[in-house]
């Protein structure tokens, strides 16, 4: 009979056609999964800095893969070579794919040449997270900082990326800022490229 048969078996996962990226799962499924990630890591560490580092490492792996996926699928295998290019790639494309919207803002740091900030009123990963007082400034946004670091590293822009809460006048929940501090070599290369 025409049209009937087993779905095609691909020997190698690389041979499978890439999906268009439109499939969705419920937000709560992701929130549950993320909470388990955080809870598991809490049992493996003694202090907050370790916890943030582990979340960041988890995010790093995600970021590296997101970069590969998006470069191949959305950008036709072209890669960004300029600083502003990669930053706007993260701020728009990566954010849109992962979180459904572009990031709220992208700013250049005023105090240092090598600092840039991506801000978000409420990070998707933090929506259902409440941080107890005794954990101080811990921010699960470290996961997202890891994603950004993974994308930057994979694209050849090594940087140190951290997530911070920034309290805003008149808002109950603080804004989250992802602070990106580029390595020396990136700035030197950028200056050379003119």
């Amino acid at each position: 009979m025409i049209g009937v048969g087993k779905p095609k078996q691909y020997g190698n996962v690389l041979d499978k056609p890439l999906s268009r990226g439109r499939q969705e799962v419920s937000l709560s499924a992701f929130a549950f999964l993320f909470s388990e990630l955080v809870q598991y890591n809490q049992t493996q560490v003694d202090n907050i800095a370790e916890l943030e580092r582990r979340l960041e490492d988890a995010g790093y792996a995600v970021g590296a893969r997101v970069l590969e996926l998006l470069c191949h699928r959305d950008k036709g295998n072209r890669r960004e070579t300029r600083l502003l290019g990669i930053l706007s790639f993260i701020h728009s494309t990566v954010w849109k794919v992962l979180f459904g919207k572009v990031a709220d803002s992208l700013e250049k740091g005023t105090e240092h040449e090598d600092e840039y900030m991506i801000s978000e009123k409420e990070l998707l990963v933090n929506r259902f997270i409440s941080v107890p007082k005794d954990m101080g400034a811990f921010n699960c946004g470290a996961f997202v900082a890891g994603i950004v670091r993974g994308v930057l590293d994979g694209a050849g822009f090594p940087a140190v990326v951290t997530a911070h809460f920034v309290p805003i006048e008149g808002q109950q929940r603080p804004r989250t800022t992802i602070l990106i501090k580029f390595a020396e070599e990136v700035l030197r290369r950028e200056a050379r490229l003119g």
Binding site: N12, E24, S28
Partner: protein
């Protein structure tokens, strides 16, 4: 109040907030990778994934019952149907099918053709024996335990090991009647 009409899986999925499945897939991959690095033993990782799934399941059932308006299931057949059509659809965006009922009606198979957890995944030779989607079995077990059903869930088919679909065998061990937490004479 008029009785609430149970919504179909598609309707519930359309009404909940959704995120990109790829974020979900990649986050799950990061979790499995972390577990493999920390625990090193494939069996340990399987157990940990099941435990994580159990923790999720006990909380997920509340949300499921609240959002989907399903009425009390009359028997295990209905339960399995509801899990496959509404539960899976509502959270993972894919519906499962129920097959292979045994004679007593206490064991069945849930078959998943499409699984958002395993996009982009290939198991290396060092991880044979890893049940990558074990979190799903924990979720179902945890959720059913919260509605008084003790179950045992095993994987029959796994696409990452070369099969053509994902098949979970769900066996109802016993129905635990709900206990009233307070003594009547206090």
């Amino acid at each position: 109040m008029p009785p609430l009409v149970p919504k179909s899986g598609d309707a519930v999925f359309a009404s909940v907030e959704r995120v990109n499945a790829e974020l979900f897939t990649l986050t799950y991959g990061a979790i499995v990778r972390q577990l493999l690095t920390d625990l090193e033993e494939v069996e340990e990782v399987n157990k940990q994934l099941d435990q994580m799934g159990y923790n999720i399941g006990v909380r997920l059932i509340d949300e499921f019952l609240a959002k989907s308006n399903v009425s009390r299931c009359v028997d295990f057949r209905e339960t399995a149907d509801v899990i496959a059509k509404v539960g899976f659809k509502m959270f993972l965006g894919v519906a499962a099918t129920v097959t292979n009922w045994d004679a007593e009606g206490t064991t069945c198979s849930l078959v998943l053709e499409d699984n958002p957890l395993v996009d982009f995944v290939e198991l290396p030779d060092t991880c044979q024996g890893l049940r990558y989607c074990n979190i799903l079995s924990g979720v179902i077990r945890g959720a059913l335990e919260m509605v008084s059903m003790k179950t045992e869930i095993t994987w029959i088919r796994d696409m990452l090991n070369g099969d053509d679909a994902y098949e979970l065998r769900v066996k109802l061990l016993k129905q635990v009647p709900e206990e009233y937490p307070y003594k009547d004479d206090d």
